[in-house]
């Protein structure tokens, strides 16, 4: 049954092909990345100077909220699912995803859910303005009417994520080629298996917490209202029980991508494969018992503060194992610095910086100073931008020749990398300083002494944004033509995906390969 895609637009609506669906996920996520990025630029433009210049405080709050929601649920998560769709079946020698129709459904829910979320910007009272963490009672008693649409948008996004995750688990556990034992799976597959487990475990908790909000807002329940015996702090506990595993959902697949790229360009096998697997599993386990480090200042008993502080610090151990393994893989390797490798090395260095600031934040007494300042913003942007975004970008450059059959333009890729690298550091590094000096997050105006660093950050943000246009241009050019890629693409890369032709045929591994 060797046949290509159906002609016409309906191919994309009705497709059951993992490669089609992967591409749609990736394009959707890039569109959301640009939209969320534009919102970030509105924020940075307003913060270029103290005082109010461009937007009103209410709209500013809508921008911070929507920027966060769109980047987390619209850009990073779908990009990883898109990469999983493309790569997991090819990496394990499967003909497609385990449940192809549900795969299509998981994708198509997303554009509808985000249309609904973004439409709140045009509703009476404006879009949600309570931050992407939507703490009660700001998101219940004091929320704009559009919060109801936000809640239902989150519900169907969650349904999409759960179905996508179930599909990935079923694919990995059931569809591996003969001989592909668990401990032979590429790390990208391993990290996604564990990520999918996290998704199935915590997305229902997110559904639960928004349901509690809905009931409190419209049906008179008292979950988050002390007047009826409830507790706003309960919201934070339930939210962060979802929220902390969620941040690992956004980083574990990144570990997998980088673990594929670094060995290829260091021309050495990955150092410590099995320790990588166990480290990933340990991080996933720990992610369930550290949630309250997001709420050290909320008023917890001292035993709680201590437990969550030490549990959080423990995460540095498996993460350190990973960083050690990546560095050791590169040690005395015959390294070359193609674009995917540049992004991966930047990942290792900058993600480690973000990890260290995380360790600082984990120290409960010190966190009382850092809490809700720009130091926190600097921290999580250092783990998400060079962590999630850089690894996705690296993955796209790395596998793009396999997807399209063409090589991307290497010099343009390198320019993209350096602009993004410089832009990112100029944007987020100064935030550490203003944060330590006490500038609170989520405000449209600030005290004069923060002006210089904010101006620098804003310039960096526009540079980073502009660099992404180059990325878009490079990808479109590669899709349309360019130097033909070989089947192996790189020098002796490891993995089944390199054993199929470039571009990968519409159906791969109709007959499973035998893995030795």
């Amino acid at each position: 049954m060797a046949h290509g895609p159906k002609p016409g637009f309906t191919r994309w609506l009705y497709t059951t092909n993992h490669k089609d669906i992967g591409s749609m996920y990736l394009w959707f996520s890039f569109a959301m990345f640009l939209l969320g990025g534009c919102m970030a630029l509105v924020i940075r433009a307003e913060l270029f100077q103290p005082g109010l210049q461009i937007v009103q405080p209410g709209f500013f709050n809508q921008m911070t909220t929507m920027h966060g929601l769109i980047m987390v649920f619209g850009a990073v998560m779908p990009a990883f699912v898109g990469l999983a769709n493309w790569m997991v079946p090819m990496m394990i020698g499967a003909p497609d995803m385990a449940l192809p129709r549900m795969n299509n459904w998981s994708f198509w829910i997303l554009p509808f859910a985000f249309a609904m979320l973004v439409s709140t910007l045009f509703m009476e009272g404006g879009a949600p303005d309570f931050g992407w963490t939507f703490y009660a009672p700001l998101s219940t008693e004091y929320a704009p009417p559009s919060v109801t649409f936000f809640i239902f948008a989150v519900h169907i996004m969650g349904a999409s994520s759960i179905m996508g995750a179930i599909n990935i688990v079923a694919t990995i556990l059931n569809m591996r080629a003969p001989g592909m034992t668990l401990m032979k799976m590429p790390l990208f597959v391993w990290t996604w298996l564990i990520t999918a487990y996290l998704l199935i475990a915590v997305m229902p908790v997110l559904a639960g917490v928004v349901t509690m909000m809905l009931m409190d807002i419209h049906f008179g329940t008292s979950f988050f209202s002390a007047a009826g015996g409830g507790d706003p702090v309960l919201f934070q506990h339930v939210f962060w029980f979802f929220g902390h595993p969620e941040v690992y959902i956004m980083i574990l697949p990144a570990f997998g991508i980088v673990s594929a790229i670094i060995p290829t360009f260091a021309r050495k096998p990955l150092f410590g494969y099995s320790s990588m697997v166990y480290a990933t599993a340990s991080i996933a386990f720990l992610s369930f018992i550290v949630w309250a480090h997001h709420m050290f200042t909320v008023g917890m008993p001292i035993a709680g503060e201590l437990f969550f502080m030490y549990a959080t610090m423990l995460i540095a151990v498996p993460t350190g194992v990973k960083v050690f393994n990546w560095v050791t893989t590169m040690f005395r390797g015959s390294m070359t610095f193609e674009t995917p490798m540049l992004f991966s090395i930047a990942f290792v260095i900058l993600f480690t910086i973000g990890g260290f600031s995380g360790l600082m934040l984990a120290i409960a007494p010190a966190d009382f100073q850092y809490h809700d300042t720009y130091f926190v913003v600097a921290h999580f942007h250092y783990v998400l931008v060079p962590g999630a975004i850089f690894s996705i970008t690296a993955g796209v450059y790395y596998w793009l020749p396999k997807w399209t059959g063409n090589m991307y333009n290497e010099s343009m890729g390198k320019v993209h990398f350096w602009l993004a690298f410089v832009g990112l550091n100029v944007t987020f590094f100064p935030m550490h300083f203003v944060g330590l000096a006490g500038m609170p997050r989520r405000i449209p105006d600030y005290a004069l002494q923060f002006a210089d660093f904010n101006q620098i950050a804003s310039v960096g943000a526009f540079l980073f944004g502009a660099a992404q246009i180059l990325f878009l241009f490079n990808v479109i050019r590669t899709v349309r033509g360019g130097k033909k890629a070989t089947d192996e693409v790189w020098e002796n890369p490891e993995g089944l995906e390199w054993s199929v032709p470039s571009p990968a045929p519409y159906h791969t591994f109709s007959t499973p390969p035998v893995v030795r």
């Binding site: 159906k6 309906t10 609506l13 009705y14 059951t16 499967a94 003909p95 385990a98 449940l99 192809p100 129709r101 299509n104 509808f112 859910a113 609904m116 109801t148 649409f149 809640i151 239902f152 948008a153 519900h155 169907i156 759960i162 995750a165 179930i166 688990v169 079923a170 694919t171 059931n174 569809m175 591996r176 199935i200 475990a201 915590v202 229902p204 908790v205 559904a207 639960g208 809905l214 009931m215 419209h218 049906f219 008179g220 329940t221 008292s222 979950f223 002390a226 007047a227 009826g228 015996g229 409830g230 507790d231 029980f241 008993p301 001292i302 159906h507 591994f509 109709s510 007959t511 499973p512």
Partner: protein, 296 residues
Amino acid sequence: MATESSYYVPEQSRLPIFATIGIFLMAFGAATWINGGSSYIFFAGSLAMATVLWFWFAAVIKENMQGLNSDQLKRSYVWGMGWFIFSEVMFFAAFFGALYYIRTFTLPWLGGEGDRGSSNMLWEGFQNTWPLMVTPEQAVSGDAAKVVGPKGIIDPWHLPLINTVLLLASSVTVHIAHVYLKKGNRKGFNWWLTATVALGGAFLFFQVEEYLEAYQHLGLTLESGIYGTTFFMLTGFHGMHVTLGTIMLLIMLLRSVIANHFKPDDHFGFEAASWYWHFVDVVWVGLFIFVYVLGA
């Protein structure tokens, strides 16, 4: 072996995009309705969703009867259902967790105990009791309070006990039905499955009785403070799951009675529904202990 001839990868399908439109209209319609708009969009979406699910399941059943589903493909459905039930477990965990947190931390602190007891200054005179009959607002504002606690609560040893017996019995009957099915005794299967559906229906009947009693005589409502909140949200979501499970089992019964769909060695549709039923039963045991018995 994962060959395309043995692992069936369906051709293009219109089902998912229609399912997307259905679920979107349901979500958008529910939000519109709750915000005071019309309910038509929600019902149109529900109808669309139900229709799509009908055709979707019909397609899967037809593929199986044509012999397209290999053992390996069936394992994908098994994994899929298993992990779906796990996600449901986590959904209930959020609500059980909320109940635990309220009883262990929030209410004692509001009542002045422990490290955080200073919050009692905001609600002077509030006493921590469970069931919570007097809300913090009532303790401060008396009759002017908007959130008023219930006058009484449901006695666990009457209707809830009956429902526990009914639901536990239904788990046994659905298992016996399964045993008959595996032996190839279709008649026995049909009868024991009928008994299961009837027990599910009886459970729902008593649940409605209980809710009527709560609303009409006990002042126990969603709005009666945190006791009513946790009581109705936990038992309500469970009731919705029982309803769904009963519908699933009823459809399995009709598939067997009308179309003789199940074979002794090939009946995952029924098995999935019965797993779901056992899951709903386990949740009920949790509810009976933590909401009813330990809550009284």
